[in-house]
Amino acid sequence: MMEPQSTEAAPRRDAHAARVEHLAAARRELADASERGEGGRQALKQYSHRADAMIQALFADAGPGSQPVGVYALGGYGRRQLCLHSDIDLLVLFADTPDERFLRSFLTPLWDLGLMVGHQIREVRDGEQLDGDNPEFLLAITDARAVAGDATLLDRFIERSDVVRTATRTLDALRGLIAERHARFNDTLYQLEPDVKEAPGGLRDLFAAQTIARLTDPGLLGQGGSGLRSLDDGEEFLFRVRSILHLETGRHHNVLSHELQDRVADRLGYAGATPRQRVERLMGDYFRHARALDRSLRWALRSAPTPIGPNLVRSSEGVRFTEEREAQDRPESWLGVFQAAIDLGCGVSDQALSLVQRHVNQFRAEDFFPTAADRAALLRFLLPRPGLYARLSEMHDIGLLGQIFPEFKAISCRVVRDFYHKYTVDEHTLLTIRNLERLIGAGPDRERFSRLLGELDTPELLVLSLLFHDVGKWRDEDHAVESLRMARQMFDRLDLEPSARETVEFLVANHLKMSVAAFRRDTEDPEIVRQFAELVGVEDRLKALCLMTLADVEAVGRETLTPWKAELLWRLYVDTYNHLTLAYGDEVIARDPSGLENVIGARPADLTDAEVTEFLEGLPRRYLQLFSRDAVYRHVREARAVRSGSIQSWLDQTEGEWELTVLTRDQPFLFSNISGVLSSFGMDILRGFAFTKPDGLVVDMFHFIDEEQFLKLNEGGNAHLLHVLEDVIAGRTDVAVRLKGREEGIFRRRLPGFAPVIHCDNESSRRYTIIEVVAENAIGLLYRISKAMSESGCDVDLVLIATEGQRAIDVFHLTKAGAKLTKPEQEQLMENVQRVLEGPS
């Protein structure tokens, strides 16, 4: 008895039979063309088209998947060059985890048709690892073509990949595969029985040359080698020969053997009285085409530019766009050309410069940096380094700089006549940036300024300020005021952080002040230095203004910045730096609220005038320059809860750094205990401040890097650190015990570095003895120094912590029993500090 058939079985059989017939018809069509010697490009395209229809039908029959899925033709099928017995290479790409049911339903009927199917299964997120995929797949996907289903998935797949790494790896893989393949043929194309696909000068070489061009420069093959026409002719010839080989052998066979040469010559209609003559003519044509393809491949391998970024390559003439059409509509990508040229130390190609110049006026300033990432990239681009001036000049010449910063356009070729300036205002401005970039690695005469540049946290803001410092010269009035007004227009476009805005505002508004003070005032007068120190407020601004002045004066004319002027400028810098770091302890906030209007006037409702004033009284004025108003108000609030032995502390995170703030009452070893706790967690303290008020309230802030990622890796790590801090300050935990192992490790590992410098200054401050320590930075350094000070009976009242490269620069303001240290006390202290810096003998 026959088993009952399912109701769906018969239609399935009918569908299969129809597909068999469809495939057979398509093959007959290609076989007929091949038989006539016409199995070239057009015939293969037609056959590929029929294969597409079949795949689309099978996709529809497989039913909807559980998620979006797309089927893509790869390799020769992707290029629509499917031969009679070629494999059908497919990529089945899922939006998410592959749907097994769909795969079975789709692929089984393909196999049932007897086709040789090569399939790759991927999901969109696999794109992230594309550059690590196998070389054959990387190459195949360069020809991927949507056939059925969701055609957008491939773009999403590619978008997830690192385009440059993938292109580079694909090219590397291709070079390797070419060399390997050619070696199999003894690196010669003159084979008596050539493989028309694999041999040197065969179809694979043509595809390789085309792939190199696609990944690097689509116009490459038209610029050299045997030329596009020869490649077209060669491709057509080889396809026709290959189609006959498949037809004659009934299989995927590509070797033009002696036996098959007769038949191919006949089908292609070669003239000749004898078979030998006909074959000789066929093979003559073959070698002519193979030579042409070989020449083009060699040209491509030799001349192809290197992929360096999305749609960017480095060619012999500089950085250029791969696809001009794609580039012209994406102004946000243009900066990448100039950035890449700086990174690679090469130029920008004429192609890229011309393209930008042709299209730049279609876009508004905002179009060049529409996202936060684009705006961050623009700031990164302004980092002073060799090549920046040259690139900015090019951007200016082609109109890009003026389009990104319309304010800069106002001074284009602007002539201002005075006794000093030798160049137009725009060129003077750009030269200031060249002067800055030349400081990098400068010789002995500029080494001290070069070091300052290396110490700036945000040198890009200095460049931004230089770009804007003279834009106000488009008018004839006070240009610093107008430049400031124009710079403020740019802040919102760039969405600059408040602190960055303040820095740029300060530098633009005051860009002439340091040259006036250095060259026209008596800088030996302490009052002049004090006034200038009050203007700059903190060391970072002083450094930036000093460099701005140097770059600005030097850009006036070739000989404007004499060594004499550089010396004057440096002396003012040093005197002001010393005032800021050594004398600030004497300049305290008085009870008189005048001068505190800004802080008191903007206070939140939960604070009173008296409360804010009382908190600030006795703190160095520098405190107000270091902390924002919001930070001050928070300190006032937290100070309410501070009692003897208790602390208020919290951690904040900012761009890779952490910030610990501590409010407590002063006690012996307080500073060393706090810094010791941070060191015991492996934190690298970069900078910080410690302030002690006359009433004993202490405000300390430490910026540090979590070297061992304790806070990142441990949930609750923040609370744990603060808890340990509380225990140490309350005397429940001994920080020395926590640090013991680490300190031993540090001393064991210590390499010979530079000798530490300790300087004692009893003159700069009326109230404090000041100890400056410059030493090689190390975990626990601050703890060891401050502990030695406390052990010497000193009160550590004020501290400035700075780190510049491997150098720690710490300035301590000390008293002993409320007074400055006596000479013997100073000597004893210096000895003690020296001892801890040297470590255990």
Partner: protein, 110 residues
């Protein structure tokens, strides 16, 4: 004719020039120089490191005046350059035998 060579503080140079111009003395040579007199420099400290600043930046003015203007010129320079502190500078006076105008070769007369 006398050659006056004055070494003054850099920030006083404009005042000295103005004072001489008031005496109708407009031709002068100004040079950036470094040196020391009684000050003999001083010790400076930067980041804990002491260094000796022995040569201080000064401005040198050279001006040739007829003897009739000599005293007035010296007085003008001293008044304009003086701060009362150490380091105000020096004025030297030297005889000038002859003077020639290069363009024409003629001997200048004062």
């Amino acid at each position: 004719m006398k050659l006056i060579k004055a070494i003054v503080r850099p920030n006083r140079i404009d005042d000295v020039k103005n004072a001489l111009e008031k005496l109708q003395i407009s031709g002068m040579t100004v040079t950036e120089v470094r040196g020391h007199g009684k000050q003999k420099g001083h010790t400076a400290v930067y980041r804990g490191q002491e260094y000796n600043v022995s040569l201080l930046p000064k401005m040198e003015i050279e001006v040739v005046v007829p003897e009739s203007l000599l005293d007035a010129a010296i007085k003008a320079i001293i008044e304009a350059a003086r701060t009362g502190e150490i380091g105000d500078g020096r004025v030297f006076v030297m005889p000038v035998d002859e003077s020639y105008r290069i363009r024409t070769g003629e001997k200048a007369a004062f």
